[in-house]
Amino acid sequence: MDLLPLALHIPDGFLSAPVSLGGWVVAASVTWLALRHTRNQLGEKQAPLIGVLAAFIFAAQAINFPIAGGTSGHILGAALAAILVGPWAAILLMSAVVSVQGLLFQDGGLLVMGCNLVNMGAFAVFAGYAAYTLALKITRRRGTAAFVGAWLSVEISAAATAVELSLSGTFPLKISLPALTGVYALVGIGEGLVTAAALSLLRSARPDVLRDDLPLPGRTSASLLTAGMTGTLMLILLAPLASANPDGLESVARNAGFSHLAQAPAIQVMSGYCVQWLGSTFYSVIIAMIAGAVAVAALVSVVSHRRIRRPGD
């Protein structure tokens, strides 16, 4: 039973048409950028290397590990890919994997594939990579950094999924966000441990394939894009706080004409007990997100600083 990790592959029907199309626009632009950057990095080796490595991520997702209670988990692999081959190539690996999962195996919908590509590709890869780089700078421990990067990649993916579900008017954010980020905070532990273990094996057995001492071209622009995407997510998540309306996102969606479904104030949704409980989780998640935003901002400044010092990058 691999129910949990599958839940990040949103099926058709759960997202509205405008949100799905928006996802396609973002996914297409990021993938196009990734194709251009990896083409510059790898030249004619682009297709063979990226193709085989995408198959690697696909196969790595088949390597399961038992968790409690007879269930088993597997990794998403976005952070691992980003750490091993750099963020741009990782975007392509995830694009290939997610699109084939949807197209041939109905693992995730077709119309919503743009959003799935953004969640498991752009968001997971850039967030994972940014967190890994930053944590590596601070702790100087590759294993710890890999754990942090992998955990955050899954968490950001889940948060983005929650935001899309709520923009679509399917689930209110204050239900979907704590539910998804809560579950994936646990799933992310597995992701983090496996990613760290994979890196530690490579480090002892084949250090030659780990080349993070050689900065890949396009790293700085990748970090900027990371900041941009994470920032966007933060803004959306912070909107409810700013408007002092706990249901801000739904009202944004309603005003924008996205959703005619979110019609009544959320207060009516559930009994007061539930709202209170969810509400407090909601705000603590928001606070965690702010911490994330600060971390990303710090990372961007570090990277840009480094670039000035070492023009050879």
Partner: protein, 259 residues
């Protein structure tokens, strides 16, 4: 996936078949259209159901496979089950004891999500089971997906079986070594993830070596980084006709919903 390409001769039934591009675009337009159906217009889902089941019959897609795949996707229905409780609207029923309210709008939304989901899954399974994978990939390239990405996807699909075999071998070796006596101590999560991580690490080493050799094999046969293909099949009038109908339907749904 589906029929082995080129196995059947180019017979009448082959000629009658829609171009893979058409099938792909029709599926996308169909899923887009059902996503635009207003929640109150449930009869349209009936129309959509007739279309899906009609195309399943016409394309002679394997029914068993379609239902197996549909059922495999059912866990999401469990997520959708929360909808009647989480959607604001007039309450029709309150769960005794905990006080959760079942809303009318929530029930409608649940029905809509379920209908859109089932229709879309069946359309997607039909597409995948009547179109061989490599034809689908080619179709992607010919409807505007960058050819470099299509080449990557094609190579990934090809090497999935090779690396998948490697992964399967590792999993078998692991289960051969970790079978424990009844009542024996259960290995910790930390240990389990270490094992899985090591397997993924060695898989990566194999993949990188495979990528190098593949690159050499491609270069040896003159590969220069560009993507070249044969097989420029033209769209038949029936393709254009079907696409026009589906396009108009989607536009109409869009107009109805938003304008």
């Amino acid at each position: 996936m589906g029929a082995v390409p080129g196995k059947s001769p180019r017979s009448r039934s082959e000629a009658r078949r829609l171009d893979p591009r058409t099938r792909l675009l029709l599926t996308l337009l169909f899923i887009l259209s059902i996503n635009l159906v207003p929640v109150s217009e449930f009869w349209l889902y009936g129309v959509a159901l007739v279309i899906v089941w009609g195309s399943i019959l016409v394309s002679r897609a394997p029914l068993v496979k379609i239902w197996m795949r549909t059922l495999a996707a059912l866990p999401f229905v469990m997520a959708a089950l929360a909808l009647p409780f989480t959607t604001p609207g007039p309450a029709v029923w309150t769960v005794p004891g905990i006080g959760w309210q079942l809303s009318r709008n929530g029930l409608e939304l649940f029905g809509a999500v379920l209908a859109r989901f089932l229709l879309a899954v069946q359309a997607a399974v039909t597409l995948a089971s009547v179109t061989p994978a490599h034809e689908l990939f080619q179709a992607l390239g010919r409807i505007g997906v960058p050819t470099a990405l299509v080449a990557i996807i094609g190579l990934m699909y090809r090497y999935l079986s090779v690396l998948g075999d490697d992964a399967a071998r590792m999993l078998r070796a692991r289960s051969a070594r970790t079978s424990r006596a009844p009542g024996g101590k259960r290995p910790s999560l930390l240990w389990q993830t270490r094992v899985a991580g090591s397997m993924i690490g060695s898989l990566f080493v194999r993949a990188v070596a495979r990528g190098d050799r593949l690159h050499m094999a491609m270069r040896s046969r003159g590969f220069d980084g560009t993507v070249r293909t044969l097989n420029k099949r033209r769209l038949h009038w029936i393709d254009w006709a079907m696409l026009s109908v589906a396009g108009v339907a989607a536009l109409w749904m869009f107009y109805w919903r938003f304008i």
